[in-house]
């Protein structure tokens, strides 16, 4: 158990926008197969943290260690790193000029340099996994929100990333579509995909994850197993946050 190496080690990570210090001294690790949930109030820096991990934002301090390498160093090949750390966005961000199929193939073809046939097979494989294979000919604007998000997940999966980041994947969805996306994520969890999920779906966080990170005002306020956080929170702030959420 002790010999497992983390996929990602976040060390003393900080980020400021101008004078606004948004992340302070963030420390945590993601091991293979881990399903980590990041919860916290709006504005606590959850999205910023995910975006820093994917280098969509440049952290202002600290380290992100991947494969024993700090990816914040100058000479690091950022696109190659991003290909291994997938991301699913709240607003889907599917390519509007491509069909569902092309959306899932383009990364394999143009980034991983795989053959067209291989890319096609992978795209279909992962689209089937999320139940969107029948829609390969559709354009994103012809799909519902839940369908778009499932395609976005398939697109990320087709890259076969080591870890997949989710930033509030269900927040832009109507209630009846939330379920279909969470269902897909549950099945990915069962298959052992390493995931780092920002969500407000507390039931999902409690049932599916094995590590919960509670953030408040740019710092990790409390961190532990779902039981530790949801059943026996140690910090007053955590308790307050959870009670507000559970009452909703």
């Amino acid at each position: 158990m002790e010999e497992r190496k983390p996929i990602l080690e976040i060390k003393h990570l900080s980020k400021s926008f101008g004078k606004n210090l948004v992340l302070k001294d963030i420390d945590f690790e993601v091991y293979p197969g881990d399903i980590t949930c990041i919860i916290g109030a709006s504005g606590s820096g959850k999205s910023t943290l995910l975006r820093c991990i994917n280098l969509l934002e440049t952290p202002t301090g600290g380290e992100i260690i991947h494969d024993g390498q700090n990816v914040l160093e100058r000479h690091v090949n950022v696109p190659a790193y991003r290909a291994k750390v997938g991301m699913v966005f709240q607003s889907f961000n599917l390519f509007n000029n491509m069909t569902v199929l092309k959306n899932c193939m383009v990364g394999c073809e143009k980034v991983l340099k795989e053959s067209r046939e291989k890319a096609y097979e992978k795209a279909i494989f992962y689209l089937e996994k999320v139940g969107m294979a029948p829609y390969i000919n559709a354009k994103p604007k012809q799909l519902s929100g839940g369908q778009k998000q499932r395609v976005a997940i398939a697109r990320a999966l087709a890259m076969e990333p080591e870890v997949l980041l989710f930033d509030e994947p269900t927040s832009a969805l109507d209630p009846q579509m939330v379920g279909e996306v969470l269902e897909v994520m549950r099945s990915l969890a069962k298959e052992g995909l390493t995931m780092l999920i920002v969500t407000h779906e507390m039931a999902f966080a409690r049932d599916v994850t094995n590590q919960v990170v509670f953030m408040a005002d740019g710092v990790i306020c409390e961190q532990g197993t779902p039981e530790e956080i949801f059943v026996n929170p140690k910090k007053e702030q955590t308790r307050e946050f959870l009670s507000r959420f559970m009452n909703k």
Partner: protein, 263 residues
């Protein structure tokens, strides 16, 4: 010899000079179309260079080169947007003749001037088109490991091109009309031909009635064709659902067929 009534004169002119007018119209169209296409290519190159992101980590050399190129391009855009094409035509044609010893052919001069002029306009349009693409698109591309170049080629530019199609059409229409200023350097396009015909029998009104109609036909047909092209770029409004049956044979990608269904 010359019929006394308006209609008779039109027919007379058509009979006598119809072929010359059509030749002139053909030249106008060719210059306008080629000029617009090359102008768009110039516009894309300039627009793309103007939107290359520079990060703090880039080396000094790249930053300086980019800066110099951008200044030159900005000057190009300002100069050619800020002066009349008719003046540019005189300036370039006689300048190259007297000081560079280059005697441009009619075609070369015409196409060069229209292209470079259109390029200056399109540069700004393309830049705007690129900047108008939602940041989510580039972030989506970045998240699957695409670099700037790949993102531009497969994600941003196709969408930008689609969005600026109306402006490209606009430029084509403008070019069809504005090639007439090239008559100052004796490019034998529709206006130049018309002037010659009108002078021969002193039939200015009749000749330019025909010329008006020909210009109008060219511009209307072109704008309709471009609209069709836009519609084609958008793809079908509906999609076919693929059946599990067809998907089972994933190896035969090229022979893949979708069954009718969907909405």
């Amino acid at each position: 010899m010359l019929p006394p009534d308006f209609l008779g004169r039109l027919l007379f002119l058509l009979d006598r000079y119809g072929v010359s007018l059509l030749q002139g119209a053909g030249r106008t169209l060719i210059i306008a179309i080629i000029g617009t296409v090359i102008g768009c290519l110039i516009g894309f190159v300039v627009g793309i260079i103007q939107t290359i992101p520079v990060s703090k980590n880039d080396n000094m050399f790249k930053k300086i080169i980019l800066k110099i190129v951008r200044i030159i391009l900005a000057i190009y855009v300002e100069v050619f947007r800020g002066t009349p094409m008719m003046v540019q035509a005189m300036f370039i044609y006689y300048g190259s003749l007297q000081y560079l010893g280059v005697d441009m052919t009619m075609w070369a001069a015409a196409i060069f001037i229209v292209s470079i002029n259109t390029g200056a306009y399109m540069a700004e349009t393309v830049r705007g088109g690129i900047l108008s693409i939602d940041r989510g698109q580039t972030e989506g591309a970045a998240a699957i490991g695409m670099n700037h170049f790949t993102t531009m080629v497969y994600v941003v530019l196709p969408q930008a091109l689609r969005n600026i199609m109306p402006q490209i059409g606009n430029n084509l229409i403008i070019n069809i009309k504005d090639t007439c200023v090239l008559s100052v350097i004796s490019v034998v396009e529709l206006f130049f031909v018309s002037k010659g015909i009108a002078g021969a029998y002193y039939t200015y009104f009749e000749t330019f009635t025909l010329t008006m109609v020909i210009y109008l036909i060219m511009t209307v047909v072109c704008s309709r064709l471009l609209m069709l092209l836009e519609r084609k770029m958008d793809g079908p409004d509906t999609y076919d659902l693929a059946t599990t049956d067809t998907l089972a044979h994933t190896s035969g990608m090229m022979s893949y067929s979708a069954k009718k269904g969907g909405r």
